[in-house]
Amino acid sequence: MTTADRTREAAANASGPQPSASPARGRPTPFAIALAVLVPLFVVLAVTTDRFLSLDNARAILASAAFVGITAVGATLVMVAGSAVSLATSQTATVVAMAFLATQQLGLATALLIALACGIALCAVQGAVIGFWGANPIVLTIAAGFAIGGAATWFSGGTPVYPDARGFETLNSTWLGLPIAVYVLLLVTVVAQWTLRRTTAGRQMYLVGENRAAARAAGLPVGRVTVVAWAFFGACTALTGVFLASFNTSATVTLGGTLTLDAIAAVLVGGTAIAGGRGSALQTLGGAVVISVLSDVLLLRGFSTGTQTLVKGVLVLAVVVAVHLRSAGSRR
């Protein structure tokens, strides 16, 4: 993946023109080489960037990774189980955020539970349609995204939802210098990783994602496994929604923003195969942090959000190609 790395370097240093769209020559270079180029590149960038190597900056990186990271870790399970991606993530988080703020007068714990239930239910239903009836996840979640977004608009009347109580502010506090969201991200990652590796359902997610027809013929509970993956994803999306709501202290229909694609990017940069069967929550955490570091470096060097988005896109593309080449190589 040296070509991609070179483009990335060019983009990161931004000394010259943007990626010359050099086509990969179809020459499969080992994944390790990509890493060997990537890691020193980061180190060089980090050392040569002002204010990058500071505790405050490290905190900022983790904090910015947290919101997207929590959802991305959940999305890892969905992708591992072979249901590709959800394109309704932003909308789900928005609805959850609204529900969370609108129920504040019932107390923080109750509002949190309602928010979680709401996220789990929304996603589990989509998972059931995909798992039991074999719906195409892309098509289904596009439709679900419109439906949920529409419901959010109808629910809020198009105006921001303001909370009746301020209980949620607890979630904005920091602990040992880090926002609570960071701890939640770490906790969610550990739980997801454990679920994938050590539970029956998690192991079956890999199998279903690897070969759905074989899983079906073997009598594995394909539908149930898919629903569990989606429900977990729903809980994670709900947590992100809750943090977004607390951070913004109000919820509009556009609160979710670019969460959908950001979460997918983090999962993909983590090296999870979009076709399923491969990947891990730890890798996704890594992916979220890498994206966060990259954005941070570009920000510190004074690049526009446009450049940041562009570089993020190139990074995702490079990793997806690398992952594809690696799996194509191992199948040979």
Binding site: T200, Y206, A213, A218
Partner: protein, 508 residues
Amino acid sequence: MNAPSTGQTRGRVQVRVEGLARAFNGIPAVREASFTVGAGEIHGLCGHNGAGKSTVVKMLSGQLPPDRGRIVLDGEAVELGSRQAAQRKGVALVDQELSVVPALTVLENMLLGDIDVPFVNHRRRATARARQILDGMGLERISPDQPLSALSIGERQLVEIAKALSQNARLVILDEPTATLSDVESAHVFAAIRRIAATGRAVIFVSHRLSEVLELCDSVTVLRDGRTVGTTPTKDLSVDELIVRMLGEAPGRLAAAERPDADLGHALRIAELRVPGRLADFSLTAPAGRIHALAGQLGSGASDVLRALAGLHPTATGTVVLNDRAVPFRDPVRAARSGVGFVSNDRKSEGLFLGRSVAWNLVATRLPSLGRGGVVRPRREQDAVRSLAELAGLPQPRLGEPVAALSGGNQQKAFVGRCLGRPDVFALLLDEPTRGVDVGGRAAIHRLLREAADAGLVVMIASTELEELLELGDVIITMRDGRVVGRYEGDANGSRLMRDMTHGVEGA
């Protein structure tokens, strides 16, 4: 009996195959195949499984280069480097599997993959030509603008043949074109084939259905163990004579060992099992301890019996009882939960998890039993993997490798091993248990199945291979066209089975 295809051009040699040979990894699949097909002749190609038919077809259609020998078309020796090259030389292949696209129209399908289609498509001219070809096959009822999805499977097969014809072929090869068709549909296909031959083209017809071969073809070449046994005019042949030629020394019963009494208390009882379009009616009581072998070619319904029991035919009807408990057999999860273990005939796409390790594959279906409360215990998992690998005869050092890295035989051992040693599996159903497995692996898998039966499991296999059927089957049930033809218990021999499988009900 002979086809009315003996046109005026008959007798001129169109295709000559001279001493073709081809080996795979040093193992010869075809040793010496030679025959000639005259213009306007319908030439049958017969042989038992593994005789080399499909390899010959692949060499004739440019999909495999021969190691030795040559192919002569119209007096000119040709090199067919690819399927496109073969097409350019005038060889058209109608494959076993339909390669037509349901979403496209008849015309579009006929143009698909045709190398002569100009870059700019003259639609009107193409339509007229398609119309002409369809009319020539007696398919006036099919319009070129009809989407293929509106046609029946038989009609799709006819379009596939029309597609081959539209390529101005000199030689048309039909590889099992009728395997999945009903008799009425087959009749249409035969009529079309006769019309093709009547225009002076050479036709090679490959089929397991011997009565069809005798009815349709002018002469038959029989292959056995990769060699041509001989070419005979069909008017001199009967089905039985053809079977003798195919089998040579007919294999008799190989394992005539005495079996302990069948354990009727633990039995799989199947009553009036039906799968629309595939299985007409199937009833069987299979007691534990015996191996029941269903003998039938592609489309006979043998494999559909097993698939239906495993829950993979949601439209199946009937009653299935295992150990006196009804099996909810329209759903694979519930079928598996009631004790049915299924090994599909396609271990790559419907069996193993190829990218995963051997160890993962061995325990893939028993994860809930390896822990408590949905949490897998690594220690128990390792123990299970180790003992299963030992049982299935898989090399311990390779358990961590992806299963795709193993040989076909070891892959199949892992696949079968996955269903063994499970206290919650009472019936083991295996579709083609040794497809693509070497001789040693075969023996090992047969031993595993015998041990499973002796351990008190109901074991049922479906197979097309006579040796396997005779070796494993304590009870052999022959099938054709979705129906049971015969039932043999200790008195089976190769030619009887072959006759049942290929000739069917009316001949039995």
